[in-house]
Symmetry: C2
Subunit: 312 residues, 2 copies
């Protein structure tokens, strides 16, 4: 059997989510009017008014992203919109308008749909998003796709590329143990993302695959490594609870657990020092410097180990 044939028989489970994204990226033509296509938190389109339009889509699927026995319908509705809001936050953007496609088994109760929609509306109202349309389909399991538009100023759009050697690595909130409930109820860091964009973040991402894996996405460019001070990583109460008092285990959760939906960014150390007092005035969640971007070398931690969440 030729090599080509063998590869064609591979499954998506074998090649993995990132392998598949890479393949799609290579096979998608680049077009005018598109500042950033596949591979960032959102696509970035040129707007006639010098602004950037953000455009993103995300799907949550029953038994993968939530279980109907554990999550309330309101929480599922909240999460379906919030995962998209978090992508807009990671660009430093303002969310504006969403459309929703909901797939339901035939025997879904009307009560479920009403409570699901109440949860989604609550997120929409809190973050000033207009729900303007959508689509209903029948399917074997509950799943929900949301597409969301947003805006940023042209020079305040923060991409996944742009980290520089010497940058401080910062993170919002507390990390780890999201599986205990935060992944259903998290608050997308929209205002925080805009603040960090204005304060001079070079690069930013929302932590969905786990701190270490998402840091890898920010430092993908050859020649970049990082140095983390484990002792400074803001470990969440949930991570401690999961670790049952074992501090090493708790830090492991903070470093590798997915779906924290906190913002991870890099910026000049001086800019970070300047923003700290203003951050404390404006936000109640912590902002923590956890390390530095380094030139990749043998002593810098490699960023190739993918220990976070992969979809396949």
């Amino acid at each position: 059997m030729s090599k080509k044939k063998t590869r064609s028989l591979q499954t998506v489970g074998a090649i993995g989510e990132f392998g598949l994204v890479e393949w799609i990226k290579r096979h998608t033509p680049k077009l005018k009017g598109v500042r950033r296509g596949i591979g960032d938190d959102t696509a970035v389109l040129r707007d006639a008014n010098g602004q950037n339009q953000l455009f993103t889509i995300d799907t949550i699927v029953e038994n993968i992203d939530f279980r109907t026995c554990e999550a309330t319908p309101e929480e599922i509705g909240w999460k379906a919109l919030a995962v998209n809001l978090s992508d807009i936050a990671a660009m430093g953007g303002v969310p504006t308008v969403a459309v929703v496609s909901l797939t339901l088994p035939r025997n879904t109760s009307l009560r479920f749909v009403k409570r699901f929609y109440a949860g989604m509306r609550r997120a929409a109202e809190k973050y000033h998003v207009a729900l303007v349309g959508g689509d209903l389909s029948r399917g074997p399991k509950v799943s929900c796709s949301v597409a969301l538009l947003g805006q940023t100023l042209k020079h305040r759009t923060i991409y996944r590329t742009g980290a520089r050697v010497g940058d401080v690595i910062g993170v919002t909130g507390h990390l780890g143990g999201s599986i205990l409930g935060k992944h259903l109820r998290f608050l997308p860091r929209i205002k925080e993302g805009q603040f960090l964009a204005r304060a001079g973040a070079h690069t930013m991402i929302d932590i969905s695959d786990g701190l270490i894996q998402d840091l890898g996405h920010l430092l993908e460019r050859k020649g970049l490594g990082f140095e983390l001070d484990k002792a400074t990583v803001p470990v969440s109460g949930a991570a401690c609870k999961l670790a049952r008092g074992n501090p090493h285990e708790a830090i492991r959760h903070a470093l590798f657990d997915g779906e924290d939906f906190e913002l991870l960014f890099t910026m000049k150390p001086a800019a970070f020092r300047r923003l700290t007092p203003r951050w404390k005035k404006q936000f109640s969640i912590p902002l923590t410097a956890i390390g530095y971007v380094r030139r990749a070398s043998k002593s810098s931690r490699t960023i190739n180990g993918t220990n976070g969440f992969q979809h396949f």
Copy 2:
């Protein structure tokens, strides 16, 4: 048990797709900057340049909208984008940019994904749509959500409302029997939709639920009925094939089959007469007048019978 409680125990199968859409519409606040929200083919947003921005989402689900044993992966990819293109066509719009969310079982072959994506890219290239981003999820069956942006001039956006008594009812192409294959390979009527918008269509929809049911959507306003001349309905070869030579049965297919994705519109009879010679020069598919919009009365056909495709 109180009436309220009984209703809450209803399933989405019992209330039906349109009942659910009505409920969602009633429970969604209207917002500034949104010209048209839930209930039309696409949402219509105000643009700073006096243009309208169209925004739509649609999902296709395995075993509902396609079967992997009948459709090629290329056809499934084509259809996933084309159903959205058809919604833009029904507004008289130009499609611009899409994001794609693809849900796959773990054991899906890489070959399937590559062929699926080739089909979608072919549709994107043919209709000049930029595929700019997306999302991959794991799920029990293949499903694909596409969100699509488009544009129309403000005074050339054609809604589902706006039909007037005396309007001619027109339709593009041939109808019925789409299940034999057209539903996987249809050509969204983008250029045709723009032509009809310029030619003065009062209202327009793409036929996804069946001619009679979608005509009902155009004439929902109280006081509107219709008169169709069955003999003029352009019956497709596939409808004849399904009907095995029975002409009554063939017309039934043309009137009630879903997923034709042809355009159904109404306009002044004089405007229709004027456009006919230009249509013939520009397009190879037929444009047929099949009846008139009438004042609703006992003799006008009622539009309440829903014989088309409902998702639940």
